[in-house]
Symmetry: C2
Subunit: 241 residues, 2 copies
């Protein structure tokens, strides 16, 4: 059955974590809001009384009678179906916890350019953004990435994947996270290979997976831009020490 | 088997969402960090190489060989075991999505007093906090609570619970969310009964559940304070319109 992904058109955003899993698995899906009238259909789900339990926000996924909202929830649902989740319960739970930790850092990335009010312009909160971004670069980003690096290195099945002995949706999301950070903060991320060697090796391997290669070269992969979570504002970047 | 909850001593924080589920179910659990040497045990899990996959941060839960981190992940794990989750797959998934949406607003509540740097003092980011809190009170809080109110009212099984036909862990978390907001923002929340009548009725009913009554009167329930997520700083509060 075809998966229907609902996410804003024109940006990668949080929808991209879902796209990468669907694309890597070669699963049949429709990116609804990029179809004619798709955005209207998405808005009807969000605003209307079409569903008993409407989602709070995109992305959400429809699969037959099932509607799933929130990135980590969607990936937990898709994981076993796309063969992108560990089979053992303890590892599936660990994968889910790691994915929620990615959710946390993604929210913090968003707040580097919108620290005061998500509904207002970046230009109206630039000074606060400068401070928030400095803290993110020097304290938060190293804390999160150092954690992922440590978990990768400790994996008893080897550091080719973060959980278990095969690639999972968490690895695909780590790829997106690192690529997004590199786009947003080219200076602060320059020494990533020195500081997070296992993570960078993983990211390189994900980028070379055949279905990912095809996806990244396709029109379905939008470029990073200033509508997404990861935004390049040179004034929010600086060299790492 | 006894559940072991690991969370910082001295505050409700994110651990409280887990405590409420365990307490309502009357489940056997230990609040490890409140036991002698418990904090050291927790820190060993966080920092050391005791676990293949250490948690990023408290709260986390140990149950036999299973270790679960992240609030929504823990509640998803506990839900069926404590009989606090819907039985139908579509509703369990919806409950999980709602819980993650609670996670999102909780992070935004935290940022009302720490908009620039979570590792620095509130006193050093007061002006930014004033702006962030104003946006939270006028835009974000109504958006989230209006959403929960809507979902409650639309429940085809009645508005006594947010999902399905019986109380779930999501309802307990909504109780904590609303109580926390009332503590932090007594003025901005004064008209909650007018604006969110179904939600307020639900919160009142949760407060009267026998095990919750016992818990709230016990020493195990810490008072809200300025170490938690929900903090009362009068300068961050104002009357709602």
């Amino acid at each position: 059955m075809t998966y229907e992904l609902f996410y804003w058109d024109g940006l990668q955003g949080r929808g991209e974590f879902i796209r990468l899993a669907l694309e890597d698995a070669g699963a049949p899906y429709v990116d609804v809001a990029r179809e004619p009238d798709g955005t209207a259909e998405m808005m009807a789900f969000l605003e209307g009384d079409v569903l008993d339990i409407p989602p709070f926000a995109p992305p959400f996924l429809r699969h037959g009678q099932i509607l799933v909202s929130q990135v980590a929830n969607i990936l937990e649902y898709l994981g076993p179906k796309l063969d992108l989740a560990p089979k053992q319960e303890a590892l599936r739970i660990a994968a889910n916890g790691l994915q929620m930790t990615i959710t946390d850092i993604v929210a913090e990335v968003h707040d580097t350019h919108h620290p005061l009010a998500s509904g207002q312009y970046y230009e109206d909160q630039k000074e606060a953004a400068r401070l928030r971004a400095a803290d993110f670069r020097s304290a938060r980003m190293p804390k999160f990435l150092g954690y992922f690096e440590k978990v990768l290195k400790q994996n008893p099945h080897g550091e080719s994947q973060i959980v278990g002995d095969r690639l999972s949706y968490v690895d695909l999301s780590l790829f997106q996270l690192v690529e997004g950070l590199r786009y947003a903060f080219p200076r602060a991320t320059r020494k990533f290979p020195r500081d997070y060697p296992a993570l960078c090796t993983l990211v390189d391997k994900v980028r070379e997976r055949p279905n990912i290669v095809r996806y990244l070269a396709s029109e379905r992969r939008l470029a990073f831009n200033r509508s997404g979570i990861f935004r390049r504002y040179p004034e929010l970047d600086a060299n790492a020490t």
